[in-house]
Symmetry: C2
Subunit: 114 residues, 2 copies
């Protein structure tokens, strides 16, 4: 199975456009839905809705709640994500090409602390 | 005067956060407001509202209308921007560090055609 969420989870991820520097994805889901495991390069995620999600990598999970209209740094990571709230998730993901992943997946699960 | 809009136009631009790869700005204005000339590096702009704007560099102007919830590529450029519509502008700008500007400012005014 592909690590690329646009390939492995096309019901949720859609490629809007890309160039030499970035690939821009749109993500949408509904409460109760979730993805299979996939990989993100270093990414800036901009939220268009507020939502509650559980991110999981291996045996590690992290609950994340974000408001609409915010931007977070998602360091390169592998995870699956589930909508654990009562609202749809709608985000734009700006993937930075040529980025590398941390050797410690659990330490980089979800958005960076800010 | 600084080329950096966060310095020259602090009433409209606000730095949300930055790291080694990106600087993330929030832009807000109201109808009738506009900026002084400033410089953007290569940037992905995500719209949180729909808006109408006139972008100007030197003697060249371009009118841009964008819906909410879209992402556009703003190639490195110098411009001033004016809200020519009837709605507030609210966007998130993901600036890519270490990018270079085109030698032809007029050709890169506003978002790239897609």
């Amino acid at each position: 199975m592909s690590d690329d969420p646009a390939v492995s989870n096309p019901d949720f991820y859609r490629v809007l456009w890309e160039n030499d520097d970035v690939r821009v994805l749109e993500y949408r889901d509904e409460p109760g839905q979730g993805t299979t495991p996939h990989v993100h390069p270093n990414t800036v995620m901009v939220t268009l809705t507020g939502f509650d999600r559980r991110l999981t990598t291996g045996e590690h999970s992290r609950d994340v709640s974000l408001p609409a209209g915010t931007a977070v740094w998602l360091p390169a990571q592998e995870h699956s994500g589930a909508n654990t709230g009562s609202t749809p998730t709608h985000t734009i993901l700006v993937e930075l090409k040529h980025s590398v992943m941390s050797s410690d997946p659990a330490s980089s699960l979800g958005p960076a602390d800010s």
